[in-house]
């Protein structure tokens, strides 16, 4: 065997190792992280933990109010950001001519927004929603702040997925005598839905995991909220508080984190199911 062939074989082995090694490291890191959280947190979790209010700053009792606050804040964020994002994407892709400078400016601003540290959103939300608009520390302020934060993610996903809709579909719909708005709602949006749902998964994940933007807007109060104008503490803020400010809160922080991760996985799973369901209904090619 020639030296060349040997060398080629060695190179191939190195490449193989790199190709398999990198994903292996990624998976291992994830597994380690999960194992750590499960190991420290699983023992605390039972039905009571999920259904009762915290006692003694979270060292006892449960996380029911945080679950509710998280759901409300995320729901507000999605309810506000999703229509805005899809509407803007439709405007950019379907209505404005590709050369329009408005499109360029909207896209550029969104890119800058997307790169903004979340603490900046927190300060912004505090100033605008809590103070200027007089909403105070409330789930509403928190939800709206999160909406600003996930808007660029949803927007980008919606825009990309609408751009991905084949032109043949667009022209086909119009050639069949569909008015423009019906072509958009009956053909183009359904075609782009799987991509929009992917973006939604990312955005909801980001919103659920957020702390810095919420500490200054929806606040810390760990009581069960009874109105949107109440302050409320989300799961992620609770984890942060337990691990930073509560001595002996570590195990409870882990337990809450485990619930949060579980919730993220369940949400992602549900959204992917929804996407799959739409595809099976024929909304997308298999």
């Amino acid at each position: 065997m020639s030296i060349d062939a040997l060398r080629r074989r060695r190179t191939a082995r190195v490449v193989d190792a790199a190709v398999w090694g990198v994903p292996a490291i990624t998976v291992a890191a994830l597994a380690w992280l999960l194992a750590d959280v499960v190991w420290h947190g699983a023992g605390q979790i039972d039905l009571a933990f999920l259904t009762t209010a915290p006692r003694s700053a979270g060292r006892a009792g449960g996380i029911a109010p945080m679950l509710v606050s998280t759901a409300i804040v995320v729901a507000i964020a999605v309810a506000v950001a999703l229509p805005l994002a899809v509407g803007t994407a439709v405007l950019l892709v379907e209505v404005l001519p590709p050369s329009a400078s408005a499109g360029r400016w909207i896209r550029r601003s969104l890119d800058i927004l997307a790169g903004m540290p979340s603490i900046v959103f927190g300060l912004f939300g505090n100033l605008v929603f809590c103070t200027m608009l007089g909403m105070g520390f409330s789930l509403l302020s928190g939800g709206l702040t999160l909406a600003c934060m996930v808007l660029p993610i949803l927007m980008r996903a919606a825009e990309e997925s609408l751009r991905g809709v084949p032109d043949g579909c667009r022209r086909g719909a119009l050639a069949l005598g569909m008015p423009r708005h019906r072509a958009i709602t009956a053909v183009i949006l359904p075609c782009g839905m799987p991509g929009i749902i992917d973006g939604l998964t990312l955005g909801v994940g980001r919103a659920m995991a957020e702390t810095a933007a919420l500490v200054f807007t929806s606040g810390y109060v760990d009581r069960m909220p009874s109105a949107l104008t109440d302050s409320g503490r989300t799961l992620a803020v609770h984890v942060f508080d337990l691990s930073m400010n509560v001595t002996g809160g570590d195990r409870w922080a882990y337990a809450t984190a485990l619930v949060l991760i579980g919730l993220l996985l369940v949400t992602a799973g549900l959204l992917s199911l929804a996407s799959r369901f739409l595809q099976r209904k024929g909304a997308h090619k298999p």
Partner: protein, 275 residues
Amino acid sequence: MTNLHAVAELHRPPVDEPGPAVPLIRARGVSVSYGARRVLGDVSLDIARGSVTALIGPSGCGKTSFLGCLNRMVDLIPRCRVTGELRLAGADLLDPTLDVVALRRRVGLIFQRPNPFPFSIRHNLDLPLREAGVRRKEPRAAAIERCLRAVGLWDEVHDRLDHAAGALSGGQQQRLCIARALLLDPEVLLMDEPCSALDPISGATVEALIGSLKERCTIVIVTHNLAQARRVADRCALFWLRDGIGTIVEQGTVGQIFHAPKSEITAAYVRGAVA
């Protein structure tokens, strides 16, 4: 308002229509420009009701642009300007206030690449019907079956109407698109190289279909396949670039164009098909 009426009345020929001599489509001096660039100049063409007209000619001479004028798909192209006189059963097709939605329901278009929506077969066909206001399910199902039978697809797909249309073969997809266009009972069917993305067998199926559609609607077909033009068409129009601007150099029956061309250009162009 008058235009809305004019288009709505298209499918019902006026009572005093003076016989088949009056063409369904009448083009006089039609020109098309994209921005400052004129691509089609001075096209005059008559198309009789119930005929198959083939538009032939080399690439880039404006055949697609001309088709686009007939159902106003050119409206989608910014900076596209059409001048001249273009009438469909007397209605002015170039009127900027024309109801293009109604027009496109009367003048269907089949694209070069089959473009079924990425939905189920049934939903592909349901959509245009629902858009046209057919609310109840049974008449929709009946129309779907009728049109699938018309394109010879019913036996192939009746038991999998809820499967994705994208899973059909290219030829089946194209026939599905034709069925989808037929649902609205168009008076004119425009076909822009409908077989060029298909294998020869699927192409032959679509070709046979064109013959059978003649009774239902007037067909204008663009094709690069001269043999196909001879097989399916009654009349032929040869588009050609003159000084960079597309125009019709000769038109007539298939026999005239292929066997007794008047123009040198036509003779040279069809020689490929005849020789």
